[in-house]
Amino acid sequence: MTATNRYARPWIAAYGTEIAADLPAPRFDNIAALIKDTSTRFAGRTAFTCVVPNGMNGSLTFEQVDAMSDAFAAFLRHDCGLKPGARVAVQLPNSLAYPVAAFGVFKAGCVLVNTNPLYTPAEMIHQFNDSGAEVLVIVDLFADKLAEVIPQTGIRTVVLAGVPEFFPLIPKAVVRGVQKVWNRTLPPVPELDVPVLRITEALAKGRSDAIDPHQWWEWLKPEDLALLQYTGGTTGVAKGAMLTHGNILANLAQVQAMGRSHMSSDDCVLTALPLYHIFAFTANLMTFFELGARNILVPSPRPVQNIQRAIENYPITWITGVNTLFNGLMNEEWFAAFPPRKLRAAIAGGTALHQAVARRWDEVTGTRIAEGYGLTESSPLVSFNPLTGRLRPDSIGIPVPGTEIALVDDDDAPVPQGQPGELIVRGPQVMQGYWQRPDDTAQTLKNGWLYTGDVAVMDEDGFLKIVDRKKDLVIVSGFNVYPNEVEDALARMDAVLEAAVVGIPDEASGEAVRAYVVKNPDHPGEMTRDAVIAHCKTLLTGYKVPKSVIIRDELPKSPIGKILRKDLKAEVRAEFAAKG
């Protein structure tokens, strides 16, 4: 194979007539300009609706979000005295305060540091110090963590926002009352040495400044930093991927290029995945906002029952999710029996979508679930399945327009077509590097190519299939076993709700396959280890069949529902270390 193969684009034919092969030139230099333009065009329409589990809700129109984020920008620059490029940490669940705060940060010419609200104080301290965040916007449910965190960081101002923020009076009072009295999840705000105020007070200050934030963002260029998106918590210490305004704008254009045929300003997208994660940030918040569509924000999608009112009460047309969310929805009778009538399509990402789930989704909803693939480092979308054409349930699709990809071996040489190789990516959505970590950056970004650490194969039409994480490979007697393949086989068993596969040390074969499985509660009767193994034998070659099967009630998962193999690997290490 020659090096030129790296630049071959066999997938172009698959774009068909629906997808433009080349990405149009960006319409805006920065995200703030997009927000202003979109808000002016769609002014009085509803942009965001937040729905809590009992159905109570609040909404903001495009012009309201615009005005409020203007005020928040003024608060950040004028009242907090932030300089351009200063970092602002936003630690909120999906709620109306999120777009107000995030858009305000962009309009202030500052940098958004998305932070998981469930982080422990230690994780918060690391992230705030690593990013150098000066202002923190945090959900009031976790205000009790501030006493420990704030003195150990450079945070100078704390802004509190509630889940029912900007709800009408009565629902807001009810939700807060329930949080405070019934669930006892609303802690008192500790005494701190830095100013603490509620977001409504911050907005009032910003409004009284009467400054047009235009002056702070009009100079922002595509190469200017927009987000520090922390990642890599799965492999040691979290590092901040530097995503620019241009990265995000390019990626939302790429999402729209792939989905355009099924997208319009009348859309209503279910945002159950957290916005602090890059998937929902780009695919839901930015993409559908730009379309002039409506985002239905669900603060906590677990248990899945929490989403019921949001789906029943609004005409949902798009759903973004991860495998576990789709799986969970189809296990709910109210969803499976009466799926949303106006649903056009669903996007799956974050983790491999199991074929069984994709097929059931197709049967249940009659719509396409298009699996995409991406990384925090690429804002995130790299590849996506076209919404028209043949369904390829095991593929992560074709590279999105404007993206180059290649599959390379350990010596960085392109592998022959059909052979597995590490997926590398180049395109306008690829990050600038890791914040203040030149060594990590050098390992991941080489000559403008992003090394994903994922092993993939490409078929002759250019469709990619992720075989696995390079480092999750299990090697049984010299044969490569990709955990995904075994998990997919397990997921096809009726009795299995979900499964995860890792390697364990084995005297005879070096490593052996171990499966952790969760029983499907709808499946009558017992699930035994032998039945699981017998099932696998019908689908897999001998060395791929799990040697050890462990039945669990649940599997460790990340906040967006990705099964964490690394936690299971840690268990295995502890278990075998103990055995000596």
């Binding site: 729905v51 009992n54 159905g55 109570m56 809700n57 709800f167 009408p168 009565i170 629902p171 009810v174 009112r309 029943e312 009460n313 009778e333 109210w334 029996a337 009466f338 029983k519 017992e526 699930m527 035994t528 280890r529 099967v549 462990i550 039945i551 669990r552 009630d553």
Partner: protein
């Protein structure tokens, strides 16, 4: 006897409760419920076959006087109370099943309660002055289905109003019982002192025995333990305040006070007994979950 104002208040409270129940549902819930109708049918069976017969048996066995028989039979024939949903929730039961059983039994009650009541009343030899006209019962139930439908419409129109009404409705379920006790007990403490242990036994017993039968009927018809516990609570917890409302609309004066004795006492005691049963069921549900865990570890 309850004053006209109190009777009106009671009626309004019942309507608010039903409004709240309506606001918790969509038409889709009915469709879902009838896709797997077995749970609901089993529930209806224990609600309208087991309970009325049990009421009749207790009435005859204890040789109660006519006004008490009427009160007891009425309680026994009533559909499920909305408070059962709260108890189902706290006992980790199947909430959707509980809500649908309450709703469906209330709808079926329009026909079933008048029929069952006349049948068992005549079997027990209740006649004349103490006979409750079937039309009265049907009328009250139909009137209550109107706010239920309205609740569903309101939720459709505005989800915030729907959720607020739903919340007010479930609070009202408790308020109405406090109201009944506060307005009836002080005026009738002498009656309470004169009442023999037999009456106390039936008022407490009908709920408890109903729960026991409800559980085993459900188990006998192949419902799992969790659904059986839900059906059990639903069977034992009757709509006491509704019985009171029917009585106040059908009788007056001392006669009303006497007939009210069992329904009012029932409404009081069922809250207490259900609380204990709920705690017990909750423990069983937890224990079963833990036992499943242990079984799985062994399967390794």
């Amino acid at each position: 006897m309850l004053t006209e104002l109190e009777t009106t208040l009671l009626g309004i409270m019942m309507m608010v409760i039903m409004l709240g129940m309506g606001a918790s549902m969509t038409p889709r819930d009915f469709l879902i419920a009838f896709r797997k109708p077995k749970g609901i049918l089993v529930g209806l069976l224990s609600q309208f076959a087991v309970m009325p017969f049990l009421g009749f048996l207790l009435a005859v066995a204890l040789g109660l006087p006519a006004p008490l028989i009427v009160g007891l039979l009425l309680i026994a024939c009533m559909p499920g109370g909305t408070t059962s949903n709260i108890f189902a929730y706290f006992s980790k039961g199947v909430l959707a099943l509980s809500i649908m059983m309450t709703t469906v039994s209330t709808m079926v009650a329009v026909v079933m309660v008048p029929v069952l009541l006349s049948f068992y009343s005549s079997m027990a030899g209740v006649t004349g002055d103490y006979y409750i006209p079937a039309a009265n019962v049907a009328q009250v139930l139909v009137v209550l289905l109107v706010p239920t439908a309205l609740g569903m419409v309101l939720r459709k129109v505005n989800a915030n109003i729907g959720a607020t009404i739903e919340l007010i409705g479930s609070f009202m379920g408790v308020v109405v019982i406090v109201f009944l006790i506060a307005s009836w007990v002080p005026r009738n403490y002498q009656l309470l002192l004169d009442t023999g242990p037999g009456v106390y036994f039936v008022t407490i017993g009908i709920g408890l025995i109903g729960m026991l039968f409800g559980y085993w009927v459900a188990r006998g018809l192949a419902q799992d333990t969790n659904r059986a516990r839900t059906i059990s609570l639903e069977t034992g917890i009757q709509n006491g305040p509704l019985a009171v409302l029917v009585i106040t609309l059908s009788f007056a004066g001392d006669m009303q006070q006497e007939v009210l004795l069992i329904p009012v006492l029932y409404s009081l005691f069922i809250v207490i007994t259900s609380t204990f049963i709920t705690l017990w069921y909750r423990r069983s549900a937890t224990r079963e979950a833990l036992a499943r865990d242990a079984a799985k570890v062994q399967a390794r």
